[in-house]
């Protein structure tokens, strides 16, 4: 991306959901994920649905339509359930979606709610058999007495149909809520992390998984931290990282032992005693961790900052970016309205040179690691028309000098939060989930270059 933070991305596609003036809880997007080529984009919502978007192929007649993402398939991934043994309701909300590397014409994705992970196959069908012996064209069973000869059914072309079929259900392995899933680079296994444990699964085997991390203390009263996110290294099948609510990252090597309770590296920034407050521990909790595409760096997000860590330096982060430092003085009210517990995600661009993460008031932030420039952009219907150029926004800290178009901290809408964002694996296309709307922005320069 480099220059594009300033080159203003254009809004390419508007919210996909119908123009409701009200937002039902079920429509709130809970995860966004591009597949490995970027041709497909999947979103999951609180209603347990998964919507898959496909990028339209290049078209000469409509130059603008190139790269536009349109709905490819929608399906219900999870249903609300009830755990009778524990008297607990299990929400259908999709916590995470992860695509598997493509292995044939079909695409596969893993989706998970709090307890159950499912493997889905997304495939196309363009032929159907005709001329059955016992069924007529409408599928009604024929009267046997009218069948006098046997014929071989034939395949006839039909309109393209996208089918989504459940292939595996990985259930009953998590006592706590699943927060992350991650596919290993060996393409054979994946892991799922809940608050206290991480399990390793084989993609073909649903009836057993191996526990690789267990931080549950013998006595739950001794519990001081929980696992907040976990991810496999993009290239080294044996390495994975998990983050904790105490703001630490642990890198584990599965070669060393079957149970990775002992980390091989601990990434932790020493606490600044002068800045210590009641909220220190809450705001230092890591809400997301992502390996860079190169596998060299780690990107983490806590409540106020995004940090880039070098795998070779455990003592402190390489770079720290303030996402919305102006909230530091508002922590008390953010604690009261529970916003302080919001779990913001973060994303790398394809070249690992820019990072992106969400904020409040439908704002999201981008930081260029080379030029050290940053930008605040807004994803909302009011401010962005299709194919319009996004204007940078600025939040003016309380007491600061206010310029034209600046927004004061006090007028930020904390109910409009951008928690989930995703970056196309190679191009400058980003997907932003703002409550029930999905925005896809594309770098204008980039698209013209192609």
């Amino acid at each position: 991306m480099g220059e594009d933070t300033d080159a203003a991305p254009t809004l390419n596609h508007h919210g996909f959901l119908p123009d409701h003036n009200y937002v039902t809880d079920a429509d709130i997007i809970s995860t966004v994920e591009f597949n490995h080529t970027g041709e497909l984009l999947a979103t999951g919502d609180k209603g347990g649905r998964v919507v898959i978007f496909q990028r339209e192929p290049e078209s000469k007649t409509e130059p603008f339509s190139q790269g536009e993402y349109n709905v490819y398939s929608t399906f219900q991934s999870h249903e609300p359930e009830f755990d009778y043994l524990k008297s607990l309701e299990i929400e259908e909300k999709i916590n995470k979606i992860r695509w598997l590397p493509q292995q044939n014409a079909a695409h596969f994705l893993l989706s998970t709610n709090d307890k159950t992970i499912k493997l889905w196959k997304v495939s196309e069908r363009d032929k159907r058999p005709e001329g059955y012996n016992l069924k007529d064209e409408e599928g009604r069973i024929k009267d046997i007495s009218t069948v006098t000869s046997l014929q071989v059914p034939v395949l006839k072309p039909m309109d393209l149909m996208v089918e989504v079929t459940p292939r595996r259900v990985f259930a009953n392995a998590h006592t706590y809520h699943i927060n992350s899933i991650s596919v290993n680079s060996d393409y054979e296994t994946y892991m799922s992390a809940d608050d206290l444990r991480i399990n390793l699964w084989n993609l073909d085997i649903t009836d057993r998984s191996f526990n690789i991390v267990d931080i549950k203390p013998a006595n739950m009263e001794d519990l001081t931290e929980v696992i907040t996110a976990a991810e496999f290294h993009p290239h080294h099948c044996n390495l994975f990282v998990y983050s904790s609510s105490k703001g630490t990252l642990r890198l584990c090597d599965m070669r060393e032992a079957a149970l990775c309770d002992k980390h091989s590296k601990l990434f932790e920034e020493p606490e600044d005693p002068s800045a210590r407050s009641f909220f220190s521990e809450i705001i230092s909790s890591v809400s997301d961790v992502k390996f860079s595409h190169s596998g060299r760096y780690l990107l983490t997000r806590d409540y106020l900052t995004a940090k880039v860590w070098d795998l070779n330096m455990e003592s402190k982060p390489l770079e720290t970016y303030q996402v919305h430092d102006y909230l530091r003085s508002k922590l008390c009210s953010l604690y009261e309205n529970d916003c302080i517990f919001d779990k913001f995600e973060c994303a790398w661009n394809g070249a690992d040179s820019v990072i992106m993460t969400g904020a409040y008031n439908n704002f999201f932030r981008m930081f260029d690691r080379n030029t050290k420039r940053d930008v605040t952009l807004e994803a909302s219907r009011e401010s962005s028309k299709p194919r319009a150029v996004l204007k940078p926004r600025r939040v003016c800290a309380a007491g600061g000098k206010r310029r034209k178009d600046d927004i004061s901290v006090d007028s930020l809408d904390f109910t409009k939060k951008i928690l989930h964002t995703a970056w196309h694996p190679t191009e400058n296309i980003i997907a932003i989930a703002a409550t029930n709307n999905l925005y896809i922005f594309q770098d204008k320069l980039n698209s013209e270059m192609h």
Binding site: Q103, D186, E188, H236, C237, R255, E256, A257
Partner: protein
């Protein structure tokens, strides 16, 4: 795929013409051709309609391997290749594997020419497919076509295999690594050295753990193919490296395959290399590896060269084993406990007493019940070498402790070893020390334990005989019939069910039956219907007089019980008893018995359902000609004798005339 299909159909057609010119019957050929075309379309449509039902695809992949005759015999077998080819590329591993299995099977039915014209191109297509699924499937096909193709094609196949061994995706490299040994076996010796070794070395140092560990498996096959003098330079460096791999999963694989490796590399290398490697694995920092190695201790020691086996074990292996006895991980200890007793036969009496016995005793006192159980379950090995007496002093407390373990599964496990222990310890020791335990289990509060305890009693009686049972077990069991707890009273019935056959007719009739009959007046319905069940169960052991005079009235009484279940089981018992009588008595047909039986049936009157089918069978099988009249006389009294039985009887009568 439909284009492929078209092409395949053309293939079929053109090859058919060729055969025609060789002077085959044209008409016949066309029919076969049409038939196989049709067959092919059916397969094709079938495949496309249900293509997302894994189980159907799996069945299809399997069945196609048996379709050779259905498509017109071996000369048309290549018609099966296109559908199997597409099945070999689906994402579902089991389907793919099954398709490859079928392809391997039908490859044998191809003529050498067809193999090169049809089969080998398919292998090449799969090997250069876009998706990894087809390339993984190709890996399994090289070895079946290699031996039967020309040398140019052979060179191509070797090249394809080389390419797949360095494929981008780990899945394909895994598939290649797992087929490396198999492929090496069909290769000419010179290529094993020139090709396979370099591939093996590359795979064994792959960046993916899952690939490297599969190379260990290939190591076994490759080592058996090479002459002894080449092993040291070509295989051992890689094997040494695998045994010290950074990843515990690779070391685990080495430990797991250790016996095979040991056999493959021979005794010299074992002595010099594998012994230290094995010591390291036994001391590995990862418990999984230690457990896998511990599992192999006995096998490894057994296969050591005999000339200095004892010396190697005593100086190198035993010290490690001693450490493992007090390992921190219970899986390691229990893996060791399951094989350690086997060392006594290898080391002989003196060494066992001096070195192994202390270890056994330590494991018998281990905190983990599984370890103790594993020792107890393998006592027979030690019994042969030093006699069990040496152990019995420590054995007893261990058994008692397990017998009273808080976990019922542990109690269950020790009960299952009781008959074995009883056999080895002898009847006196048993009576003195263990009998009380066995009886105590009968009143355990877990049903599964009570059930296992009754089964255990049966096995003990089978071992020690009816007389022993009469003196030691039966009185105690029957005594429980007066227990205030109805569950214990029921246990008496369950024991009687289990013991009656082993105790024989006399004990059953004289001692057990009166107790059972008395219990038919129990106030708990569960006991009463179990009486009915027991009577049915012990019926075969009783003599017919007792059945008639004692069992019958009681069952009849129970059949009119106020409780529904009691009534039901009493009637079941009555008809079940006929069932038994009919099946056994009629097989050795004896006119008097049969007539007695019929009268017996008649005496129950119309309230009883007679198993008609049995009766029918009996009539048809019995050589009834000279008894016909007597039978008719009996049957006429049976009110429930149905028309179907009657008709078969009539039929039978006609035949015999």
């Amino acid at each position: 795929s439909s284009q492929q299909h078209q092409e395949a159909v053309h293939h079929c057609a053109s090859s058919r013409c060729g055969e025609d010119s060789h002077g085959k019957l044209y008409k016949n050929d066309t029919e076969t051709q049409l038939y196989s075309l049709k067959m092919y379309s059916i397969i094709h449509i079938f495949y496309n309609t249900i293509y997302d039902e894994d189980e159907v695809l799996l069945a299809l992949a399997e069945q196609l391997g048996n379709f050779t005759m259905l498509v017109g015999g071996p000369e048309y077998v290549h018609c099966l290749l296109p559908p199997l080819e597409s099945l070999a590329t689906v994402e579902e591993t089991v389907v793919r594997d099954k398709a490859v299995e079928s392809l391997r099977k039908i490859s044998q039915e191809h003529s050498p020419v067809d193999l090169e014209v049809h089969f080998e191109p398919l292998v090449k297509r799969l090997a250069s497919g876009d998706w990894f699924t087809s390339r993984t499937s190709a890996c399994g096909l090289f070895s079946v076509c290699y031996p039967r193709v020309s040398s140019t094609v052979k060179a191509e196949i070797r090249q394809h295999f080389r390419t797949l061994c360095s494929d981008d995706t780990p899945m394909v490299r895994r598939a290649a690594a797992s087929k490396l040994g198999e492929f090496a076996k069909v290769l000419e010796p010179e290529y094993v050295k020139s090709d396979i070794i370099s591939l093996f070395t590359a795979l064994a140092s792959d960046e993916q753990d899952s690939v490297r560990l599969l190379a260990v498996e290939a190591c076994v096959s490759i080592a058996t193919l090479l002459p002894q003098e080449d092993l040291e330079t070509l295989v051992m460096p890689t094997l040494r490296q695998a045994a010290e791999d950074k990843s515990w999963r690779v070391r685990y694989m080495v430990a797991d395959k250790f016996s095979e490796l040991q056999k493959a590399v021979g005794s010299e290398i074992t002595k010099n290399d594998l012994v230290p490697a094995f010591q390291n694995l036994l001391k590995d920092c990862e418990a999984e590896v230690r457990a896998a190695a511990a599992n192999k201790v006995k096998e490894f020691c057994e296969n050591l060269p005999e000339d200095n086996r004892e010396q190697i074990i005593m100086t190198h292996i035993l010290p490690c084993v001693k450490e493992l006895v007090s390992d921190t991980n219970q899986h390691v200890k229990s893996a060791l406990a399951s094989v350690i007793m086997g060392l006594s036969t290898i080391l002989g009496k003196d060494n066992t007493i001096e070195h192994l016995l202390p270890l056994f005793l330590a494991q018998l006192k281990d905190e983990c019940p599984e370890v103790r159980l594993n020792i107890i379950s393998n006592l027979d090995c030690v019994n042969e070498v030093i006699g069990i007496r040496q152990l019995s002093q420590s054995l007893l407390p261990a058994i008692v402790e397990l017998a009273e373990d808080a976990k019922w599964r542990v109690r269950l496990a020790i009960i299952e070893y009781m008959p074995l222990l009883a056999g080895q310890l002898g009847v006196e020791f048993f009576d003195e020390k263990l009998n009380t335990l066995c009886m105590a289990w009968l009143i355990d509060h877990v049903y599964a334990i009570r059930e296992a305890a009754t089964c255990n009693l049966m096995k003990l009686v089978e071992k020690f005989g009816a007389e022993w049972a009469q003196n030691t077990i039966v009185p105690k069991v029957l005594g429980m019939a007066n227990d205030p707890n109805y569950l214990h009273r029921m246990t008496t019935l369950f024991c009687i069910n289990a013991l009656s056959e082993a105790c024989g007719q006399e004990i059953t009739t004289k001692q057990m039956l009166p107790v059972v009959l008395k219990m038919s007046n129990d106030q708990v319905a569960n006991v009463r219907f179990n009486v009915a069940k027991s009577l049915q169960k012990i019926g075969p052991v009783l003599d017919s007089n007792a059945l008639q005079t004692e069992v019958k009235p009681v069952l009849e009484k129970l059949a009119t019980d106020s409780d529904m279940d009691v009534k039901y089981f009493a009637q079941e018992a009555i008809s079940g008893m006929f069932d038994f009588l009919l099946s056994t008595k009629l097989l050795n047909f004896n006119s008097l018995n049969f007539i007695f039986l019929l009268f017996f049936l008649c005496s129950f009157g119309p309230s009883i359902t007679i198993p008609n089918q049995r009766l029918q069978d009996g009539i048809c099988h019995g050589t009834l000609s000279n008894q016909t009249l007597k039978v008719i006389a009996c049957l006429s009294q049976l009110h429930t004798f149905t028309s179907s039985a009657a008709s078969s009887f009539v039929l039978c009568g006609k035949n015999t005339k």
